[in-house]
Amino acid sequence: MEILNNFFLIALPYIALALFLVGSIYRYTHKGYKVSSLSSQFLEGRRLFYGAVPFHWGVFFLFFGHLIAVLFPRGVLAWNSQPVRLMILEISAFIFGISMLIGLINLFIRRYTTPRLKYVTNKMDLVIYILLITQTAFGLWIAYNFRWGSSWFSTLLTPYIYSIFKLQPDISAVSLLPWAVKIHIIIAFTIVAIIPFSRLIHFLVYPLNYLWRPYQQIRWNWGRKSVRSPKTAWSLHRPKNN
């Protein structure tokens, strides 16, 4: 038991984070052509709606929900101090979880029953689906059976995650948690580990920059004012036809 706990709750997170960091940076900088959401809407554009939309909005909110619990545990606890607010938080999180699960199942069925999609599907897609569906199912299971997650997450899991980042892993509390929660943690780190090796890389390149960049983009090969300036490096080899 001890060995298993040590491996899955200490070693795995470090392996996962290392793979994630090195892999993602390498893929982004060296394999730009392979970084893509690999949209399949062009081949099947109707059923995707019932999968991609509920799934992504679900992930979107749950991802930030977990992130907030890690970053601001006291804030979450303070919010939860009133039962009404706790209920609002828990119920909406649960709804997003359901939405995510429904979306995932729709995506899964769509992908494996549309003949055209077979040709843009690889083994990694299957791995991702299995991991995500299991993870979501466990998440919902935990939310339902071990209430109230948003509160105990902040007191139990947040310190664990901090301890990992501080390079002083402390699993004394986590190792006592029910096995379902442990599996949820293990799959979470597995997903982190495979991000650079799967299509999941796509959410790292969410184009936030679009918000503040101008609509039109002009690129000059040389600074257009400096092309004719004798002070630029090009003056050594001025194009003969200029």
């Binding site: 690999l38 690129r219 000059w220």
Partner: protein, 516 residues
């Protein structure tokens, strides 16, 4: 004034014979790859017709281009807010069936089929799934089918024509059609660039070519929606969007783009235009009636001292300015005002201009009695009992202008945002050049009449001869005036590009393999 230069094009529609050589030349060089089979960066469609993808001009369906609402100009189906919230599922994305499912035939079956009582056949199979399919649509499937209910009558440009006008167009004996070759317009206000959330699409400063950086494209597929001409395509295999690159590697080497080089009808012209980029914003905000003229007004006179000085200040090379002075595009668009942009109302400021077609629409038919003539013929030759004659007479000045076979409105919907006078103006010019040349070569037109026609069309004799020369006699160097590249030291030029032929294109050092 912020002067930039743009490699720009004119297609002379009177001369297009609809041979699709251009499309094939392009396909062989750029899109003969998996995922790109269905793409035709250059395509030729029959008009009236629905085009490719079907009914692409109908922006109520495809929601491409910019729209002006309450004085504001915004992307119709994309943009910052919509782009980022619809990113998981783009409600306005065309799907492959709007183009067609790429296919091939099982040719090998013809050879390998065992001996039998019936001829073996080569069944069509999908290039996506490899399964046999029933072909519903294909490249130029609608070729010459303007008279049909499915294609001709579904043309979005017929929308504001009355039923009677449409009936006239589709009368069997009067039916006319023409070809419309299309490539990316390398617009000045490109919707594709504006819609790309990753910022992968950009316009090159030096020559205005619009490109998609394949390393940065993330398949958010917004450009496919945003381009009103549907000239940005999604590669379903690679998960990247691709578009016409105006053969920039050829341009940089001083060669004409493949579609233009191969054009059998010699309808294509390419040259530099200098324009004032400061005017882009104001121009796209104008009302429909002013848009076409204002678009042309952005183009600057390359002989003007002031323009030359400002252009140099902006780093435009002498050789580019020189090329601009000899640009056939400048002549057609600005000097002779003969060429118009296609669907300027999309407000992308397209830089590909069309000389509207005259021949198929102007020629009228008249009934003649040719029994006398028939009698004189050898009986064997008497197969021709048709007494309709193609009327090429020039009795009246612009007599046939009023008997055109298309309602002017139809062409006006395509080339001048509904302004029929503009089309009429072009037709007059085209007619006047013909009458003027007829005076010179056939001699059955009086000087008086020819001069009157030229005056009415607003052309001088030199201009008419110039139009005639560039239309009918122009040599390769007259049609394509390509400024020497100034990218010699650019990094793209250092790679050996030959070793990526047949793959994604230029600029890669590794094989463009699909991600996992």
């Amino acid at each position: 004034m912020d002067i930039r230069s743009q490699i720009s094009m004119v297609f002379h529609l009177d001369k297009c014979i609809g041979c699709h050589t251009c499309s094939v030349a392009c396909k062989n060089i750029w899109t003969d790859r998996k995922g790109a089979e269905y793409m035709w960066w250059n395509n030729v469609e029959t008009k009236p017709g629905t085009g490719y993808p079907g009914k692409w001009e109908d922006q109520e369906i495809y929601r491409g281009g910019w729209e002006k609402k309450n004085g504001k100009v915004r992307l119709k189906g994309a943009g910052k807010r919509r782009g980022l919230t619809n990113i998981f599922y783009n409600p306005n994305l065309p799907v492959i069936d709007d183009y067609y499912e790429p296919f091939t035939y099982k040719y090998l079956d013809l050879i390998e089929a065992p001996q039998g009582d019936v001829q073996p056949t080569a069944r069509p199979v999908s290039l996506i799934t490899g399964e046999p399919i029933d072909i519903k649509m294909g490249p130029n499937w609608d070729d010459d089918l303007s008279g049909t209910l499915d294609y001709g009558r579904n043309d979005p440009n017929l929308q504001n024509l009355t039923q009677a006008e449409q009936e006239v167009m589709f009368q069997l004996e009067k039916m006319a059609f023409f070809y419309l070759p299309r490539i990316c317009n390398h617009c000045l206000n490109p919707a594709c660039v504006a819609s790309c959330p990753s910022g992968a699409i950009y316009k090159r400063g030096e020559d205005g070519v619009v490109l998609i950086n394949q390393e940065v494209c993330r398949a958010w597929r917004m450009c496919v929606t945003a381009c009103p001409y549907k000239k940005s395509y999604y590669n379903w295999h690679a998960g990247k969007s691709e578009k016409c690159i105006l053969c920039f590697p050829r341009l940089e080497a001083g060669l004409a783009p493949a579609c233009m080089h191969s054009c059998v009808g010699r309808i294509r012209y390419l040259g530099v235009l200098l324009y004032d980029a400061d005017k882009i914003k104001d121009t796209v905000h104008l009302d429909d009636q002013e848009l076409v003229d204002a678009h042309r007004d952005m183009i600057l006179d390359p002989f003007d001292e002031n323009v030359i000085r400002e252009a140099k200040k902006n780093g435009i090379a002498d050789s580019t300015i020189h090329a601009a002075q000899f640009s056939p595009v400048y002549k057609y668009v600005k000097e002779w005002k003969l060429a118009l942009p296609l669907h300027a109302e999309f407000r992308t400021l397209p830089m590909l201009f069309y000389v509207p077609p005259l021949l198929p629409v102007m020629a009228s038919l008249k009934q003649v009695d040719n029994t006398e003539d028939s009698k004189k013929m050898n009986p064997i030759a008497k197969y021709w009992d048709d007494n309709w004659l193609y009327d090429t007479s020039t009795k009246e000045l612009f007599g046939s202008l009023d008997q055109v076979r298309f309602p002017l409105k139809y062409l006006a919907n395509m080339f001048s945002i509904g302004d029929e006078e503009k089309i009429k103006d072009k037709w007059k010019k085209l007619m006047a050049v013909r009458i003027h040349r007829r005076r010179k070569t056939v001699g059955d037109v009086s000087d008086e009449k020819a001069n009157e026609v030229l005056k009415a069309a607003g052309l001088t004799e030199e201009q008419a001869d110039g139009i005639f020369y560039l239309t009918a006699l122009a040599k390769f160097e007259d049609r394509f005036v390509i400024p020497p590249a100034h990218r010699e030291q650019a990094i793209e030029m250092l790679d050996f590009t030959g070793d990526v032929k047949g793959s994604t294109g230029f600029g890669f050092k590794s094989k463009p393999k699909r991600g996992i």
